[in-house]
């Protein structure tokens, strides 16, 4: 029976992998010795310290390999948010004599947007590029926005909400021609689609451990050799003076293991498996339910991302109903974002707020099955019907006072 396990225990279905992924058992196993046995400080000269140092450097190699970088270009941080802050503020401070202009997009993660807004308060100028109805950025618009004051372009690799994969390689060419630094927030893509930093043409790339079956509290900033950057966190000389603070050894080891496993899965064709499940969800739900829109691009999208808007109902009430059936999902509705307005991403692709409030994001991961997808396809239309019966809008938005 769908959503229900044996003995009355509910079999839960997790489809919120863009929020966080379960830590892989192998990752946990790799981390364990670094809490209680190999607990040395990697900066210590003794054998305890040196075994921790070796583990950190081994992890660095694995992460570098996953993205086609040199291990010396990998800086471990406290997470994706820190990496974004580091890249943007670090470039801004270190290059402010060259110029004070930064280019980004309207659909970036808040870690990027708030870093940019912070810099605006300190004399920098920021251009927030628009996106098309699929959430895609036009490389030509990047070109047009570049001035002689521009020091940094930061555009996300793929959007966390609608899954749109941006033309980073094309933007990279434009940015390189202008001789400007290029950063990409790659938190949603690393380990999920093949990435090569040289092919993409980026100088900096942010990643997060817990989005690729690694632990929370650890991230990476890929920093191309020769990049002029100020550090965000000052203190000791760890990470070649780029990021102070005693290394999170267990976390870093976990990140390394997660990178290694992600590379294996990519070779084994996990992407195709997820695309198949994703497209089945999209196809069957949109066939079964009317007044539904797909957000993001049908093809240029993350393998596990489904984002739909159901008209006349609100996202949180959908999530609560799904949760009662054991299905974990997310929404861009205001109620779930903790703000009063619906998602800035959904508004940027041109959706009116009342439709943006009805968004549902299902993000698939490596352990999701055909059976789970079938279950969601079965229960979701019933939930939509139930909520539409409560709605004052029926089949149209007639009577909506804006």
């Amino acid at each position: 029976m769908c959503g229900k396990g044996v003995n009355g225990f509910m079999k839960r279905i997790y489809m919120d992998h863009a929020a966080t992924t379960p830590t892989d058992n192998e990752v946990v196993k790799a981390m364990e010795p670094y809490f209680t046995q190999k607990y040395g400080n990697p900066n210590s000269i003794h054998s305890f310290g040196q075994e921790a140092r070796d583990a950190v450097e081994e992890a660095r190699k694995k992460v570098a390999h996953l993205i086609g970088a040199n291990p010396s270009e990998i800086i471990f941080t406290g997470g994706g948010t820190e990496s974004d802050n580091f890249a943007i503020k670090g470039i801004a401070w270190a290059n402010q004599k060259k110029g004070n202009h930064i280019i980004t997009s309207k659909i970036e993660h808040h870690a990027v947007l708030h870093s940019c807004q912070f810099l605006e308060k300190h004399g920098f100028r920021v251009t927030y590029l628009p996106v098309d109805k699929y959430g895609l950025i036009d490389p030509d618009n990047v070109k047009k926005a570049i001035t002689d004051q521009t020091i940094l372009v930061t555009i996300m690799h793929a959007n966390n909400e609608i899954g749109a994969i941006e033309p980073i390689k094309e933007i990279g060419k434009v940015v390189k021609e202008a001789g400007i630094y290029f950063h990409t927030d790659s938190v949603q893509t690393v380990g999920h689609i093949p990435i090569d930093v040289n092919d993409l043409g980026v100088d900096m790339l942010s990643m997060s451990g817990h989005k690729l079956y690694g632990p929370n509290g650890v991230g990476v900033l890929y920093l191309r050799k020769g990049t002029r950057i100020d550090s965000l966190i000052g203190g000791g000389s760890q990470e070649k003076n780029r990021r102070a603070g005693t290394e999170n050894v267990a976390g870093i080891v976990g990140m390394g293991k997660a990178a290694e496993l992600a590379e294996k899965r990519l070779v084994q064709g996990e992407e195709d498996k997820l695309i198949k499940l994703r497209d089945r969800l999209i196809k069957e739900i949109t066939e079964k339910v009317d007044h539904v829109l797909l957000n993001g691009h049908p093809k240029k999208r993350l393998p596990g991302n489904v984002n739909l808007c159901f008209e006349f109902i609100e996202g949180e009430s959908m999530l609560l109903n799904l949760d009662m059936e054991g299905v974990a999902a997310s929404s861009g509705s205001a109620c779930t974002s903790g703000s009063l307005e619906p998602s800035h991403v959904l508004l940027a692709i041109g959706l009116p707020p009342e439709i943006a409030h009805g968004s549902l994001r299902l993000t698939l991961g490596k352990d999701n099955t055909e059976e789970e997808v079938e279950c969601v396809i079965d229960i979701l239309p019933k939930i939509i019907e139930k909520l539409r019966a409560l709605s004052p809008f029926k089949g149209s938005w007639e009577g909506l006072k804006k």
Binding site: I313, D323, A334, C335, E354, L390, S391, P392, F393
Partner: protein, 139 residues
């Protein structure tokens, strides 16, 4: 989800008095599409008492639960008593709401007062009409 009280979830799972009243004596609408909560409250009044109340709501769990709760609370009350119901008392009757929901989705009592306002206006209008009719007759 543990963000809501059991009482809220109870009303959310099985909302009471969902629907429209075709010949309603008063209709109140509150909310806006930006916040994503829109409520429509319908009342039926007989001898100054609210004898029926129904709702239709576009909104989150709190919006649906408060709508359901207010329709339950108001039945059988006089107009004067009904006007004493506030957003706060609705939230209390539900065992509280998460702080962020207190101002954005807790509108049901406002919807009810608007419905009562609508009812009063209708009564006045019809009184006025009869008065005018009577005066015309006298002339």
């Amino acid at each position: 989800m543990s963000m809501y009280s059991d009482k809220v979830m109870e009303h959310f799972k099985n909302p009471h008095n969902v629907g429209e009243i075709k010949d309603a004596d008063g209709i109140g609408e509150v909310g806006n599409p930006i916040c994503g909560d829109i409520m429509k409250i319908y009342i039926k009044v007989k001898d100054d008492k609210i004898v029926d109340c129904k709702f239709k709501t576009f909104g989150c769990g709190a919006a649906i639960a408060t709508s359901s709760m207010v329709t339950e609370m108001v039945k059988g009350k006089t107009i004067e008593e009904a006007l004493e119901i506030s957003n706060k008392t609705v939230a209390e009757a539900l065992g509280g709401l998460p702080p962020i929901k207190m101002h954005c989705s807790n509108l049901a009592a406002d919807g009810l007062s608007k419905a009562i306002e609508d009812y009063k206006k209708k009564i006045q209008d019809s009184k006025l009409k009869t008065e005018i009719k009577n005066q015309c007759k006298k002339m």
